[in-house]
């Protein structure tokens, strides 16, 4: 991670559903209503970098004078974050039933990183166990793919064309011009469609393992 890490910045841009706990003047532009205040209990999608600070920072009770803050036991943050859709009950059930064929990219391209931050914030042991289990299962599948594509086609270029933007549809067309062999084609299609369901972290893992397998294969089969 790190301050300068691009993936970290993209993860923090993911939006979380939030509920405001007070009336706050002047922040209407968050709801596309510039100039108007936000009412209490208004629900909005806010980016993580904004939401997680506002949810933690204490705003004090509404009718509170700052001298009496010490006596106030309850700390009321500005907003309340609710579980984002990526970690909803529906998704966790889907994970439990079939981790491998789950389309993680469409749920959230930065699933694992967001899960890390969320668990860190709320110490949600349950979620972290589910996510670890998910990672282990998918990692094996990724390893299988990385290994077998290295054997089948040493010049695999189509993998590199998968970008992190949301244009998933473009990649479906690029599969066809990769290879002449029919077997290779169908295998590449299958692996490419699997690869499109991977989230960012898994793509990195795939790339690294694929590179290393490819390198050893190349060394094995090269002539002196």
């Amino acid at each position: 991670m790190g301050y300068y890490d691009i993936d970290d910045m993209l993860t923090e841009g993911s939006e979380i559903p939030c509920k405001f706990l007070h009336d706050i003047p002047g922040l209407g532009y968050l709801e596309n209503n510039p100039g108007k205040p936000i009412k209490a209990n208004a629900k909005l999608m806010l980016p993580y970098w904004l939401a997680h600070i506002l949810a933690v920072v204490d705003s004090g009770s509404i009718d509170d004078n700052s001298e009496n803050r010490m006596d106030d036991e309850r700390s009321v943050p500005f907003i309340e974050m609710s579980t984002p859709e990526s970690f909803s009950q529906k998704v966790t059930n889907a994970i439990k039933t079939d981790p491998v064929s789950l389309d993680l990219h469409s749920i959230n391209p930065h699933f694992y990183e967001l899960a890390l931050k969320w668990c860190g914030l709320y110490s949600d042991k349950n979620l972290s166990e589910i996510v670890s289990h998910l990672l282990i299962q998918r990692a094996q599948e990724i390893n299988n793919f990385a290994f077998s594509t290295a054997i089948q086609n040493k010049n695999i270029n189509s993998i590199g064309s998968i970008t992190s933007s949301n244009n998933i549809n473009d990649n479906k067309n690029s599969n066809d011009n990769s290879n002449s062999n029919n077997n290779n084609n169908t295998h590449l299609l299958a692996s490419s469609s699997f690869l499109m369901t991977l989230d960012e972290l898994e793509k990195q893992v795939y790339k690294k393992s694929h590179e290393s397998y490819k390198d050893s294969k190349r060394w094995m089969y090269q002539n002196k």
């Binding site: 301050y3 300068y4 890490d5 691009i6 993936d7 910045m9 993209l10 923090e12 841009g13 007070h22 009336d23 706050i24 003047p25 002047g26 922040l27 532009y29 968050l30 980016p47 970098w49 904004l50 600070i53 506002l54 920072v57 705003s59 004090g60 509404i62 509170d64 004078n65 700052s66 001298e67 500005f78 270029n157 590199g160 064309s161 970008t163 992190s164 933007s165 790339k207």
Partner: protein, 210 residues
């Protein structure tokens, strides 16, 4: 909404990083001046907002109005957070580009840096980035010619296999003086030479290992 432009910049940075991961040679796309300038404009506006809020708070504190002070602070807070976010995205973009410039300097340092700096390809870099590249390469050359002349730090990273190798000449290069004699490099001629001598020439692209 504040922070949207910054998001666009980060997505572009990510795309640049991925483009680079595919190929071997580091290529830097055009520096997105327009987007950066827009973000900086947004940042100046946010800064003005923050200063306004600060003044407001100070006047309120002086007048003894503590009511809702925390709620008022929320606006201030949100603006400050947007500011930080913009700053972070700008810095991340810049750092990515400078890291790529670093690897460019390391790759090129076996060869001539002067040629590449002034060519049109480098119009993708801003003036500051070109300066940075030049100074960094100078730093590298200084380091290598300082105490570490014995090790060629930018040399080939694959370990040597044999002492003598067969090479074919790719370009005409005249006469090359080595420890063990003089070689006349004419295109397509072959030589059986010691690897340590010709490694430099291979890196520069004059010879090809067979």
């Amino acid at each position: 909404m504040y922070g949207d432009l910054a998001n666009k910049l980060v997505i572009e940075a990510k795309r640049t990083a991925q483009l680079n991961n595919r190929g071997n040679k580091t290529t830097l796309p055009v520096h997105n001046d327009e987007l950066v300038r827009d973000i900086i404009k947004e940042v100046t506006q946010l800064k003005r907002n923050i200063e306004f809020f600060k003044e407001q708070e100070e006047t309120m504190n002086e007048n003894g109005e503590y009511a809702n002070s925390r709620i008022m602070k929320c606006q201030h807070f949100v603006n400050a957070l947007c500011l930080e976010r913009n700053k972070r995205c700008l810095l991340g973009y810049q750092k990515l580009r400078s890291d790529m410039l670093d690897s460019l300097a390391w790759e090129n340092n076996g060869m001539d840096m002067l040629g590449t700096v002034s060519s049109e390809e480098n119009s993708n870099l801003t003036h500051h980035e070109q300066e940075y590249l030049k100074k960094y390469s100078e730093l590298l050359t200084d380091m290598k010619s300082g105490e570490l002349t014995d090790i060629d730090l930018s040399g080939s990273l694959t370990p040597p296999r044999e002492i003598f190798i067969d090479v074919r000449v790719l370009k005409d290069a005249g006469e090359i003086q080595t420890e063990y004699g003089v070689f006349n490099l004419i295109k397509d001629s072959q030589f059986f030479v010691r690897q340590s001598d010709v490694e430099r020439l291979i890196q520069q692209g004059f010879l090809q290992k067979i």
